[in-house]
Symmetry: C2
Subunit: 229 residues, 2 copies
Amino acid sequence: MAEYGHLKRVPMVTVKRLSRYLRALEKFQEKGFETVSSEELAGELNVKPSQLRKDLAYFGEFGTRGMGYSIPKLAEELRRILGLHRQWAIAIIGVGNLGTALLRYKGLNEKGFRIAALLDDDPEKVGSSRSGVHIFHIDDLPNLVKEKNIQIAILTVPAPAARAVADLAVKSGIKAILNFAPVSIKAPPDIAVMHVDISSELKILSHHLAELDLSGETVGYPIVEDNGE
Amino acid sequence: MAEYGHLKRVPMVTVKRLSRYLRALEKFQEKGFETVSSEELAGELNVKPSQLRKDLAYFGEFGTRGMGYSIPKLAEELRRILGLHRQWAIAIIGVGNLGTALLRYKGLNEKGFRIAALLDDDPEKVGSSRSGVHIFHIDDLPNLVKEKNIQIAILTVPAPAARAVADLAVKSGIKAILNFAPVSIKAPPDIAVMHVDISSELKILSHHLAELDLSGETVGYPIVEDNGE
């Protein structure tokens, strides 16, 4: 039986930090370093060394007491943990402005990921291609997932369509969904769903602005240096 | 002196849930309900009633024991806490595919927000407009912030430019930044910075896929119903 508990066992913030540790390690490596202490590595992310050790402890023992971490070995381990030792095929569903932006977004074309297909239901788009990637009809999703061994679906469809498209993706065998549609999506527990909810991020900012306003800070004018903290 | 501690005092996950509570309340209101119990409201978000009460307790006392919450009163309070009782002006900096997608994104044109200006440094774009919003030169940012009383900057510039643009935004008087560039940004403590790091969300998904792989689950094929949890 598959073990589905992993994603929930390791806090999401830890997994997020792992990719930042990896980025920092790659920088150290570029500079020619071979080893790094937990203080140095944690310092790059502005976290405490104890936090770094706690994050890594979810996955086993790394580093040698008094010697620090071997940079190539830890980087390799982090790549394996993050699933970046192999390549995952992505389908972007919804070829509007956002879908097109993501297609060209650098972070989506990193080592480890490959955009294998675009899908839409607009007859004017289906059959053409963008940035060299073919646009298929949404009804082709089940076949494409099998033929191209697609694991990740990125949803950039309008809100009213998102749930039905997510259901189709799950039925087609997709195991991970990155949802940009402003609705929450339900999926079985073995499917990882990440929601990029831009509207909710904006509301965190407006909450901050409202608090500044309440506190008597004039919002929208240059910071006076001696405002302090 | 301004009180800057608020954003850090209230956990970000709490603020995120507040906007989801508000959405649920608005649904109840559309259906003609006047009051709602903490069980019913929490149930809409799949959280425990104790979590809802804890989230609200950061901001004071709401509801009457045994009576539940008055929907219009609680919704009004949440709008005030989230800063949605007034309108915030947004500048989108970087008018590429992503900037254009966000300009047309429904969540950005909700009540409470208004896209007041677009900015870019491409002479072919500056002076034209998209969806009725004028594209200014990035050098105009300080003047625009004052003239149009802009509070929020959305950064959709390429990674190498992001830090300099963020610095300019802060110097211009921007108090809140939503950063889509794949680099982290440093800002004074009174500036709220939210980072939408699509690449890091993707790595959480690939981590999940790698764990499924390790657990012997064949990735990329339909779920067998009896897989259990």
